[in-house]
């Protein structure tokens, strides 16, 4: 592996010992710049997320290969049975499966937060005189890029197997934009769990418990009309259903004002509730 060779290389390097006079020179005569703005600090943490993607590109697997797999699997698995043909079904399924995949992908945020905290670097961030939520916002800015990547990968696969949205470029972009906004707000659930739970495994376990019912018990795969009444009550009021309907309508060229309002309302509630819970935990930790 490349990392192994890098290690031996570094061990071979005979590094110069730090020189006392040069060290002394490092310490004198530097003024303290004013503290960065909330936006600047958040963007810097977003840049950190980009650097991590650059150094560990494998982490993009879950926003590329995984969504492709989901699109192909569900289209060919259910297409014939549910809509008569895969071409028919993809028109209905693609916006929904996009919603489901991106909402599922948000859970990796919690795992990233959790593994980071176990390392010392978090202590460094927490002792900096910066806007307190900046490290968390930075994570999510990096994740927004991942969500975008996943959305466009799925769109491309969908188009390749026959997805033809009536809403055109604008409708599709509006749908994706709404999905990203919702996912950003939804991710705060995971930053909270990332801070709350002790190990990566438990974060994973809890995430699955939340994400599977929430995404599957929705109108992503089928129209809820055939479901029993109690389930319909849940499905019709689930934020994922509102989001999936709004995205589907936008991509079809309609303007689903009510569903958009519901989605943004949910996003606002999630952001306020889980954002403040996250920051409470972050300050306590």
């Amino acid at each position: 592996m490349s990392t192994a060779t890098a290690k031996t290389e570094l061990e071979g390097v005979e590094l110069a010992a730090p020189d006392r006079e040069r060290l002394a020179a490092l310490l004198v005569g530097q003024g303290r710049p004013p503290r960065p703005s909330a936006l600047s600090a958040s963007l810097t943490f977003g840049w950190r997320a980009m650097l991590k993607i650059k150094h560990v590109p494998e982490q993009l697997f879950d926003v590329t290969a995984f969504p492709i797999m989901l699109v192909l699997m569900y289209t060919y698995l259910f297409g014939g049975a549910l809509a008569g043909s895969t071409e028919e079904y993809i028109q209905f399924l693609l916006p929904g499966i996009m919603v489901m995949s991106v909402v599922m992908i948000t859970m990796y945020t919690g795992i990233a937060v959790n593994t980071d905290i176990a390392k010392g670097v978090f202590d460094r961030f927490r002792t900096l005189p910066i806007w307190r939520p900046a490290p968390m916002v930075g994570y999510l800015l990096g994740d927004v890029l991942r969500y975008l990547l996943a959305s466009f990968v799925m769109l491309a696969v969908g188009m390749a197997i026959g997805f033809r949205p009536d809403g055109g470029v604008l409708g599709v972009l509006a749908g994706i934009a709404l999905l990203i906004v919702f996912s950003f707000a939804f991710s705060w659930i995971w930053t909270m769990f990332g801070l709350l739970l002790r190990s990566e495994k438990s974060v994973m376990g809890v995430s699955m418990m939340v994400i599977f019912p929430l995404t599957f018990l929705s109108n992503v795969f089928v129209d809820p009309k055939t479901m029993p009444g109690w389930l319909q009550a849940f499905v019709n009021n689930s934020p994922v259903t509102h989001l999936a309907t709004a995205v589907r309508d936008l991509m079809e060229g309609a303007w689903p004002a009510t569903e958009i309002a519901w989605t943004l309302g949910w996003a606002g509630v999630l952001l306020v509730v889980f954002g403040s819970a996250t920051m409470r935990l972050y300050n306590r930790k």
């Binding site: 990392t3 890098a6 290690k7 570094l10 061990e11 390097v13 590094l15 110069a16 010992a17 730090p18 020189d19 006392r20 040069r22 060290l23 002394a24 020179a25 490092l26 310490l27 004198v28 530097q30 303290r32 710049p33 004013p34 503290r35 960065p36 600047s40 600090a41 810097t44 943490f45 840049w47 950190r48 650097l51 991590k52 150094h55 560990v56 390392k119 010392g120 670097v121 202590d123 460094r124 961030f125 927490r126 002792t127 900096l128 005189p129 910066i130 900046a134 306590r284 930790k285």
Partner: protein, 323 residues
Amino acid sequence: MSTELAIETTGLVKVFGDNRAVDGIDLAVPTGTVYGVLGPNGAGKTTAVRMLATLLRPDGGSARVFGKDVVKDADAVRSRVSLTGQYASVDEDLTGAENLVLLGRLLGHSKPAARDRAAQLLDGFGLSEAADKQVKNYSGGMRRRIDIAASILNTPDVLFLDEPTTGLDPRSRNQVWDIVRAVVDHGTTVLLTTQYLDEADQLASRIAVIDHGKVIAEGTKGELKASVGSGTVHLRLRDAGQRAEAQQVLTVALDAEVQLDADPVALTARVDGQSTEQGAAEQAGRALAELARCGITVDNFSLGQPSLDEVFLALTDKKGVAA
């Protein structure tokens, strides 16, 4: 004393479950000095430092850094302190240079200024060649250096070093010591936690010894040593049969209690250089001469500082020295 206090704690307490990790610690650290906090694993050193660095909220008592309360005025404290933790406080996935640029930006430097400062620091710490390698590939000594470099990106008024040399080889350890000395020469106050008496002795001007979350002794190095005895004599005899006789001779010559070690040819005695006119080395020299006169062959002899174990034994024997 007229000097301003850099750090002051009164009755600081932190409880985890039913473990009182820090159990009422009072510290007064004068500005511009290295203050050593000495104690074994689990004594509460790290917990105390984390409270001072605003990472943990105290459950009782108070702590102030330059007069600012670490809870109520946490942001003001954060702008004046830096922490180098026991585990590297840098991002292992990023390169050394990226880590420093990231921090520079977070401390409010412009991008070019952050890059310049990063290059300066990497150069000064002898890390230029590793600048573009991920930190996860660094050796222990290099990690510690990049970590300290990150801590002095803006020269802090107080630098917390939590066991900065644990796990380092002697050469890297000496380099870290040099860095600490340079930082203090500049006027930064350093609070150093360590398990090694030697390290506290090398760097610190005042030392607090803590155990089970409490300060069991505090004072200058001189005061502390006086309370413990200035050294320990270790002897290895050629013939185990002579050990009992050697013990008697030494007890008289050193005027101290002589312990028989688990090793059948070894003896240990604490030399209290302060109680007599002579220094510890002189006292030990006489004892050796006395052994030779009695025909006891000594294969190996050393006079060293008391180990941390011995310090603790001595301190728990006579509680509350110089406190």
